[in-house]
Amino acid sequence: MDKISQRQLFFFLACVAPVGKLVLLPAQLVYASANDLLFPAAANYLLQAGAIALVMLAARSERTLPELLENTFGKIAGSAVMVCLSFFYFYAAFFPLIEQKLFVQGVFYDTLPSLLVFSPFFVLSAYLCAKPASAIGRISDMAAPVSVVAFAGLLVLSVPSADFSALNPVGAAGADGFLRGTAWSMSWFFDSALLLALIGKFRYRKGMVWKAPLCYLAGGAAVIAFLAVFYGVFSDIALRQTFAFAKIAKYFSAISVLGRIDYVFICLLSLVMVFYTALPLQAGTQALRAAFRDKGSPAIYAAAINAVFFALAVLLNDRFLAVQETITKTLFWIFPLFSCLLPAAALLLRRTPREKTA
């Protein structure tokens, strides 16, 4: 059963997708746009919501993306596009993976632990990569309530320490700051591209074209609220606060007496984040399999891809800043190409195969 239900899709958009935006994105937005960090985030959310609407329109055909590509371009060209798309998924997967690794090392450990500590992630990821879309659906079902409870818990603990006047003066960063912030945060926004991999695997129902973007925007509103609290808590030193969601709640007055009770919520969100981090790898694996017409066992693809990613993580272990600069500041334009333009292009694809001419 390679299917995902409407409910699971909406849970993913509203509750799982926002979790990937809570670690390094807030500090990156502050770096680019200072106190105007909410606007670039909102711009990216609106862009993505539009792209998700386009994906939903493309999903009305109830054909999978490889089928649509094959109908339009033929087998070879269709496969080539799928290979390109799979490389995009792998590219998009790399930064969240490094982000997750740094988060675990920085927050759960007192000193820098061995990279082996992070290696179980690749075991789990390989397992997920070998699973069909229905696995994503089940993960969304389980992760959504966990994510909501943990996120709400963290916000409740953080809001009393926030001074929202720190978000003023609105527009101080100017158009430059807004554009820089929007561009440099694009690498965190590729959820519409993840949905592309799922078209044809869920049944399109009436209203999904606006319900899905609305769910995504609901998650976006939660992220924007989080960013506002984050800047309210840290104000002029927000730039230095990497691993944002692990830090905002620690100033709650009862924590000095009870200890870091916020870690309960942090651990829960980390668990959801593990699954979110593995999703682009899963999408990439499935796209690659589709490109090669599902030849070979999914386990072999999954193992090989995760082995390569583990090797890359080892190789670039001490080059985080270079990786961040390259992906978020130099090659950021790749993300809108695949997550905004590709969904638009998907609308032009043929639903039925070309008729063969004699």
């Binding site: 450990y109 007192d110 789990l124 100033y251």
Partner: protein, 393 residues
């Protein structure tokens, strides 16, 4: 045989998820070797000719020192270096103890050290991911090492004795202006570039032993506290661009806390022609902000108080009826608050310490005016103080 095999993938999945979660939270399976780790309770920073001297007060269980057990005492170890990090590394090199700063609740700065930008060394603590930025900051008279090393009269360790001064109860009394590393950094890196921290003075307390009775005296003698110290933190050090620029007196610290609306249990004396009164502050509101044109600094204090002490013998009925603050006393208290606020403002303006973050307020509320004025020079503002003292029962 078929059914268990069918369920194998989901069981494997659950096992992997549990294993992953466990390994994430394992913290390297007991990384901390307590025998080799020094849990630093407080760090004292003094400037030397070459750089810095860091005095780390390290927690040692009393039983380890031959005590009766249960309590914690401190060992003070110093290291020197061109940077704070180097000084801490020297402590490690000389003792074999790995200094662990996660429990460091106080950074005590020697007075001379604060003559230059304190963020030349506080940056180390702020950058340190393994240290809490909620730790208190304080400036002290003389050397931080001398204060941390001397035995305290009221606790086993000087850091614990000092931390008592910064308690919530002390803050509500209005006679201490607390700050944390995070709050100080926010002030320093903001447009106001200013901050404050309590100023610690230490006093020898030979009488402390006899005052506590014979039992306490014997106990103190047994611990060798020949010249135990008590401390005061009711003065406040003002900082501009990271440098120590002025000192607020006890009354000015109280006025500052009134302006911040933080006083809920403090008392302050008022002298009138009718005699000396002590008023008990039950509720307090305050504000300090620039006016719309950024030409005046507007200060407002509102106090709800009752008479705490009249310094005269009175009967029970008189005590009950005299709890309400007489109007003349309330007016005198208002005058006194206004006078103290003005003197406080004068110090801030003269030393260019934007204690009330007026520049930040203007920046946030009217960016255009802020840019037109090129910031907000404090000397360009004229103060306007409004105090209201109302008696309640």
């Amino acid at each position: 045989m078929k059914r268990p095999l069918k369920k194998l993938p989901s069981r494997l999945f659950l096992f992997l998820a549990a294993f992953l979660f466990f390994s994430f939270l394992s913290n390297d399976f007991g990384l901390v070797d307590i025998q080799k780790t020094a849990i630093v309770l407080a760090a004292g920073i003094d400037r030397t000719e070459e750089g810095y001297e860091v005095t780390a007060q390290i927690a040692v269980p009393s039983s380890a020192q031959g005590g009766s057990g249960g309590a914690t005492s401190g060992v003070n170890i110093s290291g020197e270096g061109e940077t704070v990090a180097e000084a801490i590394a020297q402590i490690y090199a000389e003792t074999g103890w790995v200094p662990k700063l996660i429990f460091c609740n106080l950074i005590l700065i020697g007075e001379e050290t604060a003559e230059e930008d304190v963020f030349s060394f506080l940056g180390f603590f702020l950058r340190n991911e393994y240290m809490s930025d909620t730790c208190r900051l304080a400036l002290c008279e003389g050397k931080a090492k001398a204060i941390l090393s001397a035995p305290a009269a009221v606790d086993d360790t000087s850091s614990s004795a000092l931390e008592k001064l910064f308690s919530d109860a002390a803050e509500k009394s209005g006679y201490v202006a607390n700050t944390t590393l995070k709050d100080f950094a926010v002030g320093y890196y903001g447009v106001s570039e200013s901050g404050f921290m309590p100023y610690i003075r230490a006093m020898e307390q030979p009488a402390a032993k006899s005052a506590g009775g014979q039992g306490q005296e014997e106990n103190g003698a047994a611990q060798g506290k020949s010249s135990a110290l008590v401390y005061s933190a009711d003065e406040t050090a003002l900082f501009s661009r990271g440098k120590f620029v002025a000192l607020l007196a006890r009354e000015e610290t109280f006025a500052y806390n009134l302006l911040c609306g933080k006083v809920f249990a403090g008392s302050f004396p008022v002298e009138t022609d009718e005699g000396a009164y002590s008023l008990d502050v039950l509720k307090n509101k305050g504000s300090a902000r620039p006016d719309e044109r950024a030409e005046r600094a507007l200060f407002s204090v509102s106090v709800r108080a009752r008479v705490y002490d009249r310094n005269t013998p009175s009967g029970m009925k008189e005590i009950t009826s005299a709890e309400v603050v007489p109007p003349s006393v309330a007016r005198e208290a208002e005058k006194r608050i206004e006078k103290t606020v003005l003197s406080l403002w004068e110090k801030c303006a003269d030393s260019d310490c934007d204690l009330f973050f007026l520049a930040r307020q203007l920046y946030r509320s009217d960016l255009r005016l802020y840019r037109e004025k090129g910031g907000l020079p404090l000397t360009s503002l004229s103060p306007s103080v409004q105090a209201e003292v109302v008696g309640i029962r």
